[in-house]
């Protein structure tokens, strides 16, 4: 993408400052990550109750079993030793779930692949809808369209996800008579491929739309405000004054500059990768990340909870880092 203000050839000095910026942020973010790991570990282990107490009525859980369990997972050691054990295992990829003794990273990867389509479709819906709506609102500021769009975006921010989910389910099921719960229709196994394909699309559509609602509302408002700000700039007025057609003023002069901050947003959507909404995946019985995390919480499966937390912290930090870096690349005016 080409922006209106010219990019100066990066000088030697700038390269150095960029490198030092990268170095500084990496160090700073590693330190933050270290503290995040401590805080999350403490939160989980200082809360009352223990995983060995989850099922006290189960006759198979004899005191000897509990003792063996505690020993197996180092629960009888002091906290700081447990901490080192846990993160040593995590960093070498050897963490196992307390519930079924399977590799946590393997479990997360499997669920991640299930959540990924939701994330991709949701992101595509968000970005393709927000921009046209936001731009149109800005161009016809104060008009009927703008006021309706504003109201709808507030509506979308305010509606509880689970309520919206049930409205959509009732609507789709009664109007189109298609099943929507789960990854695919149960027992559809050997149908013709167009039917299989449509089945997957229907199942994918609702949770993706639900995942996108909040994003659409916020992003379209943000596009609108960016666009309005740029439309008020001198160079847009100049363009209009010298007789550039209105269309060109909006899309060539204003829009291109208004897009600048959104480049950085590519970094900020990274954490969404592991987010996977707990509520939406529960409603739709979608075997994704969110549900796995929820099940782990219910079972007090600490390794899974902590690993999900750790990965999402890494993604948040990586996301802000990428977005800072992108800002640096697209906007040469940024001083370090």
């Amino acid at each position: 993408m080409r922006f209106v203000h010219s990019t100066t050839r990066p000088s030697r000095k700038r390269e150095d400052t960029v490198l030092s910026f990268i170095g500084r942020s990496v160090i700073q973010k590693t330190i933050t990550l270290f503290f995040v790991s401590i805080v999350s570990f403490l939160i989980i282990h200082l809360a009352p109750g223990e995983p060995s107490q989850v099922d006290p009525l189960n006759p198979k859980f004899t005191p000897e079993m509990v003792e063996r369990f505690r020993k197996e997972f180092h629960l009888d050691e002091p906290l700081h030793i447990q901490y080192t054990y846990f993160y040593r295992d995590l960093l070498t990829g050897k963490t196992v779930s307390w519930k079924d003794n399977q590799s946590v990273l393997g479990k997360i990867w499997e669920r991640f692949l299930n959540s990924l389509p939701l994330f991709i479709v949701g992101t595509i819906i968000t970005w393709t809808l927000s921009f046209p709506v936001g731009i149109r609102s800005a161009i016809f500021r104060g008009g009927l369209y703008d006021r309706n769009a504003t109201f709808f975006s507030y509506l979308l921010i305010s509606i509880p996800g689970f309520f919206f989910a049930y409205i959509l389910i009732i609507f789709v099921v009664t109007q189109f008579h298609v099943p929507v719960i789960g990854l695919k229709t149960f027992g559809i196994g050997d149908a013709a491929w167009p039917r299989l394909f449509m089945d997957r699309v229907w199942h994918l559509l609702l949770p993706s739309i639900l995942g996108a609602t909040g994003g659409i509302a916020i992003l379209s408002r943000y596009v609108r405000s960016q666009m309005l700000e740029v439309e008020g700039q001198d160079y847009v007025r100049t363009a209009r004054a010298k007789g550039v057609p209105e269309e060109q003023v909006h899309y060539k002069h204003a829009l291109r500059n208004a897009l600048l901050p959104f480049v950085t947003m590519f970094g900020l959507i990274l954490p969404g990768l592991i987010g996977g909404s707990v509520i939406i995946e529960s409603i739709f019985s979608w075997p994704g990340m969110g549900r796995m995390a929820f099940e782990a919480i219910l079972a007090r499966d600490y390794p899974v909870i902590l690993t999900v937390n750790f990965i999402s912290a890494v993604l948040v930090l990586a996301g802000t880092f990428v977005s800072d870096l992108l800002y640096l690349v697209v906007d040469p005016r940024i001083r370090l």
Binding site: I31, T32, L33, F35, V36, V39, S40, I43, I44, A47, P48, G49, T150, F151, Y154, L155, I157, S158, I159, P160, G161, F162, F163, Y166, I167, I169, I170, V173, T174, G214, G215, I218, L219, R221, Y222, P261, M265, L268, I269, P271, G272, I274, G275, V278, I279, S282, I283, A293, F294, I297, L298, R300, I305, V308, N309, S312, A313, V316, L317, G319
Partner: protein, 324 residues
Amino acid sequence: MMRDAADTVTPGFQVDDPVALQQGFGQLLKQNRLAMIGLAVFVVFFCIALLGLGLTSGRNPTFDPSVVRLQEKLRPPLSKPNLETLSTEDVPRLGVYLFGTDDLGRDVFARMLQGAWVSLTVGFVAVGISVFIGIFMGGIAGYFGQRHTFIDTLIMRFVDIMLCFPSFFLILTVVALLPASMYNIMIIIGLTSWMGTTRFVRAEFLSLREQDFVTAARALGVSNFRIIFRHMIPNAIAPVLVSATIGIASAILTEAGLSFLGFGVPPPHATWGGILSDGKRFIFDAPWLTFAPGFAILIVVLSFNLFGEGLRDILNPKLRERQG
């Protein structure tokens, strides 16, 4: 995440002339129709929640949300109770099931009344906690930060650390680990949502502390404590109010989400999220169990959001000049 991004780009507020602001405030509020509607709905909700607390609690409540009438299961809204099968004290007070009954024959209207108070208190107390922490931390970082860089760095790094946690997931984890109670939910939502307030209170304080009235106060020998609380906080309160209003909306949503997942206020106390969650098995047979609490949450959250955004516009000096 995107919401955070949108919040941080909000331009700073400045109260140049408090008297003019107060005079213009009412007028601007009247002009902003959506904000007025939001405020009106909020006031109505507040009254309903207070009324609901009075009418549904006590030994012999006017509307008893816990009366089980198994012979009156899943009656649609506005249906009349069958007087022959009910004992006199079980007949709903209005003589009609305004919002229908649930799968145990409990009056949904009474349950909604009881749940209103939960939503209201969770929203206000959680935001109260987060605003208090936010002002305190942001105030210290902004006021003492210049001289004691250490304090500033410490607080802001802590903010960074807290921002790394996926908030709903963190809240869910802690709520699930702790014993279920309304107070735990309020406190946890409050403790996990103060970072935004801290950031902009700090920014506000950094610019305020360079202004003449602060220098004058310091020259007069006013104590730091008094400068912060008497002189600076009143000038930094506008953006805090805006974010608090919107914060209440999101706290109510979070509480509803927790209740929906079964981690809310423990039963038999009714919450809006809980009613919806109980009704989800009957969405096709008894959709009112989904729609009554769903619309209630939507309307209340929407009113807070509209009012908050209206406040933001009104307190934004750029907009005020344009209109004036």
